[in-house]
């Protein structure tokens, strides 16, 4: 491998850059989008391999332009420094596109209004849809980065049974896992598209707290420590008979894995064990259905059917409050396509990376079930979080 020149704006290898731009342009062509302008950190990272402040201008044909505000001193073909967005027009003004794509699902209204003025003759289209679709089918390079996060994620989880000490609370355990993860290289940042979901480094849910409804659209809730961030651990002591569900951050290189495992101090009762096994069974079944072209909603329906057959419906995806999905695409952000939900219109496609999380909340016991991240290929599915799936017992 040649050494990376960190001052060169484009950190992606040329071939990889071409593959990604190719995907984006194919989606643009489909929507009749003649040019698009990317500003969002996640999309900038996708197109260049780095986060910078500025824009990426992608015409359907012709050269890509990288408009940079910060940091100083980046070099490379197509790099143009600007202080404000209005300066972009001087560079791209000669070829006004008929239609311009802006990231309408993530860029604030005021910012879009300002950018629209740069393209007074262009019709506005939604570039968020283009990027979301392009990013849902990962390249080999992207899957490899997710795989590398997975290796570290699994390594951290393998040490969780050793972290428990008597009398520990959910938060004390979480802090130990955070430390372990961070020393392993975890970046911590949870990228979530849209800023209405907030989460700090993940969730450790113990006992009844798993049934606390959360304002966020996450599969599991938790009351949290404070009404300003009402999610996750809430200082519950870990006690025999309760489960400890660990769903912690797997972002080690900008591309994430999502992974959940369950731990306990002792016997958790038949119902919880049965539900945990049902989750594992659903994984096996749905992995078999994850073929390019399959309907995402069919996966959800099959999971629901299995849950009903097992008589576990009232506990599925929460008890007091139910989550509306059992899986989601993952990569740079935690809420990518496809969505595995009852009314999802997504089709499974080659290159999808999907976190599957059929979970249950058993009253008075806690949450059970596992989450794995899978890569979908033409002829097979790869688990990117290969770790033992049974409930682990803390070593004391």
């Amino acid at each position: 491998m040649k050494p990376i020149d960190i001052n060169h704006l484009l950190l992606l290898e040329h071939d990889e850059f071409c593959r990604r731009i190719g995907k984006v342009r194919a989606c643009m062509a489909e929507m009749g989008m003649k040019a698009l302008l990317v500003n969002d950190n996640a999309n900038t990272y996708y197109l260049t391999g780095r986060v910078y402040a500025g824009f990426v201008y992608v015409p359907l044909e012709g050269e890509v332009i990288f408009f940079v505000k910060r940091p100083v001193k980046l070099t490379g073909d197509g790099v143009v420094y600007i202080r404000k967005p209005e300066e972009m027009t001087e560079t791209i003004g000669l070829n006004v596109p008929e239609t311009i794509g802006l990231e309408l699902d993530v860029t604030p209204y005021s910012a879009v209004e300002r950018l629209k003025k740069l393209f007074p003759q262009s019709s506005l289209l939604n570039a968020s849809q283009v990027l979301r679709k392009a990013r849902s089918q990962k390249t080999e390079v992207e899957i490899d980065m997710i795989r590398r996060s997975g290796v570290k994620h699994v390594h951290v989880y393998s040490r969780i049974p050793h972290l428990y000490t008597e009398g520990m609370t959910d938060m004390e355990l979480q802090v130990e896992i955070e430390k372990l993860s961070r020393l392993e290289g975890c970046l911590g940042q949870f990228r979530i598209s849209g800023d209405s979901m907030e989460l700090y480094m993940g969730n450790v849910l113990v006992g009844e707290n798993a049934d606390s409804p959360s304002p966020y659209d996450f599969a599991m809730g938790g009351a949290g420590l404070d009404p300003s961030l009402p999610v996750g651990a809430n200082d519950t002591e870990i006690k025999p008979g309760n489960t400890v569900m660990v769903d912690m951050n797997g972002n080690f290189d900008g591309y994430m894995t999502d992974m959940t495992r369950v731990y306990a101090l002792g016997d958790i009762g038949e119902l919880a064990v049965k539900a945990h096994q049902c989750s594992i069974d659903i994984h096996r079944e749905l992995v078999g259905m994850m073929k390019p072209g399959a309907e995402a909603k069919a996966l959800y329906a099959r999971a629901e059917e299995m849950v009903k057959e097992a008589g576990l419906h009232e506990f599925f995806m929460g008890h007091c409050q139910h989550a509306g999905f059992i899986g989601h695409g993952i990569g740079i952000e935690i809420n990518e396509l496809p969505v595995i939900a009852p009314r999802s219109r997504d089709l499974i496609a080659e290159g999808n990376v999907i976190a599957l999380e059929p979970k249950f909340v058993i009253p008075h016991v806690g949450a059970v079930g596992i989450e794995n991240t899978y890569a979908v290929y033409a002829d097979r599915v790869e688990c990117l979080t290969p770790a033992p799936e049974a409930i682990s017992y803390f070593l004391i």
Copy 2:
């Protein structure tokens, strides 16, 4: 104190709620805004004392309505459950406001377009400006929450000199501080208005890394561990002669303090010591100028003047890349009003809480200078991060 009913939507005491709504309505009246709709987590938290998924509808006159999507089972006067925004119109439809304020600076374009359709006869105004202004003048209750974060923040920092062990890197030290903070109750979440700035739990900058330019609009940069999150610690070993600047998260209850201190292993040279003292001197001077009615830009100008007099201009607020401000309002979010910058039009006002951070980057040594959070009253200024300001030396 009476026990809190966590199922009651409004966690704020009635008087405090009235004070905040009163401030918001005063700003609305000034802008001719007849009603506004809040959806952003930070603004929802400000108006109710909790984060929930949904909206707060604030008419200039009449009852406030709390539209809740999640969590389930919240109760209280004015609570109306909705599944989608369109259902709000049934409740508020009878009194169509002439003008409606939406959070245009933070709500994505698509979401605003959807909300606008609920008010087809209303002119659109920017509620972000109203909330930003109202929130910039804190109530006593808010300042008390910031003060309590400050006490814990100071306590964590007091133990930093004991955390160092020989051969430690910036990241290893940061992980120890993170653990200490978390066990002290730090929520971790850095709320930053707009989602283009990303930061995980703060910055520990050692030596030359302080001079690495960042894409984010922070006072200090750092290369970070990965191009997907290029800010902060980058695995630099802490060595004699270098400074260690610690600027870590102070969010212990939804309201934050911002605080920076400098540590070192041994002699860091005259220039760095002089610059650190200059930062302390600027604090003294600017605190004396922080009177209601003072121009924010005058504070910046005075700091710049002192820096020039000391012959330290080339190192001020960065060396390779310079930040454009030396202070900012802080509270629920880290980038509130007022902004202490050369072209700021903000005036200092009673109730402002301001983080002041005149800093320097000394080549080959690192960053020096301190940051404190101050509350501005009619007749005095209170430091909410009262901790020793001199450079501390690690205990080995």
